[in-house]
Amino acid sequence: MMSSETRTIRVTINGRAFGRTIETNLLLSDFIRHEVELTGTHVGCEHGVCGACTILFEGKPARSCLMLAVQADGARIETIESLADGERLHPLQTAFAENHGLQCGYCTPGILMTMKAYLAETPRPTEAQVREALSGNLCRCTGYQQIVEAVLQAAALMRGERP
């Protein structure tokens, strides 16, 4: 069997630069969780179906299990750990807590990162639009209803309205 090559990469995650020497077949999801030890990004299926591993790659939601870590060399990444400002929760987090938008929480990091980017582009979504935007994230607990309500409330909070 062929042995793996290694490469040294530099990635900016949540505003901090990380330099690591890694094998070129290392998945970006494993780089984030095992090398950088930011374990908030979850891995559900590892083949691009569940969305639990969603991060922001250059500001856009992407599935980190479908990227190689080496592809992130020089890139800017945001993970769930960047969402709260110290102890101050992001409006998405507040809304998910208040609406019971999570039960086991496995799907939550991927959903919040997807919705962060989505609401930045679509500050006033309809319920149907939120459901469509959520279609790339599977949740096995909630039945989605409370997730949709939480996203709609977060959107209102981010517009400065208190629903």
């Binding site: 090559e5 070129t24 077949n25 691009g48 479908l66 997807t114 980017a117 469509e132 935007a133 790339g136």
Partner: protein, 285 residues
């Protein structure tokens, strides 16, 4: 699972990428990774070398001139979805891309990657067939242009051979006053189609009709009998019904856990009629 080991190269020029592919028949180009990465993770493919195309900026972008549009193979699906120049003349691209995957996958997934992978239920190959697209395929020593009809061979198979790379897709200008329509049935939004239809119609000259159905198991399929029905029936309601029936009659669908063959056959006709009605409604004149 995790990808098997491979040599990794990320060239920044097309020439370098083509040289790497010419050197090694077991090398695989990596575009947006939304199909190849799951196959690597499952170890369904074990390429000797992964040639990552993501740093070749010359392969991405959309250019429109009087003859039509040229879409670089590495153009992200999200960028094609939002391109005003495509929406104007080729709205079929936008209509179909809304059914392709999800926010996260469209941000990475590319137009060329989807076409070169040719999943038998993917939307983009059907759209390219309906738009009479031509594909430019390059190798280290030369290039060739392949019609969509010849490019999509069968499920997961295209006319690309080892050492070649799909680099661009050309869309001819649609006939004057063209109307386009797309319809799909999938279990969940963003899933591959159980059945989908892409239609282009125009009254210009002797009339123009393209009826393409996909999701039947073997990739996109043009339905000449349905096209003839639309043209002969002057795009009337009876012609639409006849085109739908012709589509159902022409397909040989597969049976799988997602849907039985009889259901796919029926839905192929329903989608063809629905997309045709839509396209006709948008047609000028």
């Amino acid at each position: 699972m995790k990808p098997p080991p491979f040599a990794y190269r990320d060239p920044t020029t097309l020439d370098d990428a083509l040289a790497l592919l010419a050197d090694d028949a077991e090398a695989r180009p990596l575009a947006g990774g939304q199909s190849l990465m799951p196959m690597l993770n499952f170890r369904l493919v074990r390429p000797s070398t992964v040639v990552d195309l993501n740093r070749i900026s010359a392969l991405a972008g959309i250019a429109v001139d009087r003859g039509g549009a040229t879409i670089g193979a590495m153009t992200r699906q999200v960028d094609a979805l939002r391109a005003p120049v495509l929406a104007e003349q080729w709205p079929l691209i936008r209509m179909a891309l809304e059914h392709v995957g999800h926010l996260q996958t469209r941000n990475r997934g590319t137009i060329g990657g989807s076409l070169a992978h040719n999943d038998p239920a993917a939307e983009l190959p059907a759209v390219m067939l309906a738009l009479d697209a031509r594909m430019t395929v390059q190798r280290a020593k030369g290039a060739r242009t392949i019609s969509a009809q010849e490019f999509f061979v069968s499920s997961l198979t295209t006319a690309i051979v080892a050492g070649e790379l799909l680099t661009a897709i050309h869309l001819p200008s649609p006939p004057p006053g063209a109307g386009m329509g797309f319809a799909e049935l999938a279990r969940r939004h963003g899933d591959f189609a159980l059945a989908a239809a892409a239609i282009v119609v125009s009254r210009a000259g002797a009339g123009h009709a393209r009826v393409v159905v996909t999701g039947m198991g073997d990739g996109p399929q043009r339905i000449p009998a349905a096209e003839a029905a639309l043209l002969n029936g002057r795009f009337g309601e009876a012609a639409i019904a006849e085109a739908g029936a012709a589509a159902s009659a022409a397909v040989s669908p597969i049976d799988d856990l997602h849907a039985p063959a009889w259901y796919r056959r029926k839905i192929a006709g329903v989608m063809a009629a629905r997309a045709a009605r839509d396209a006709i409604g948008r047609m000028a004149g």
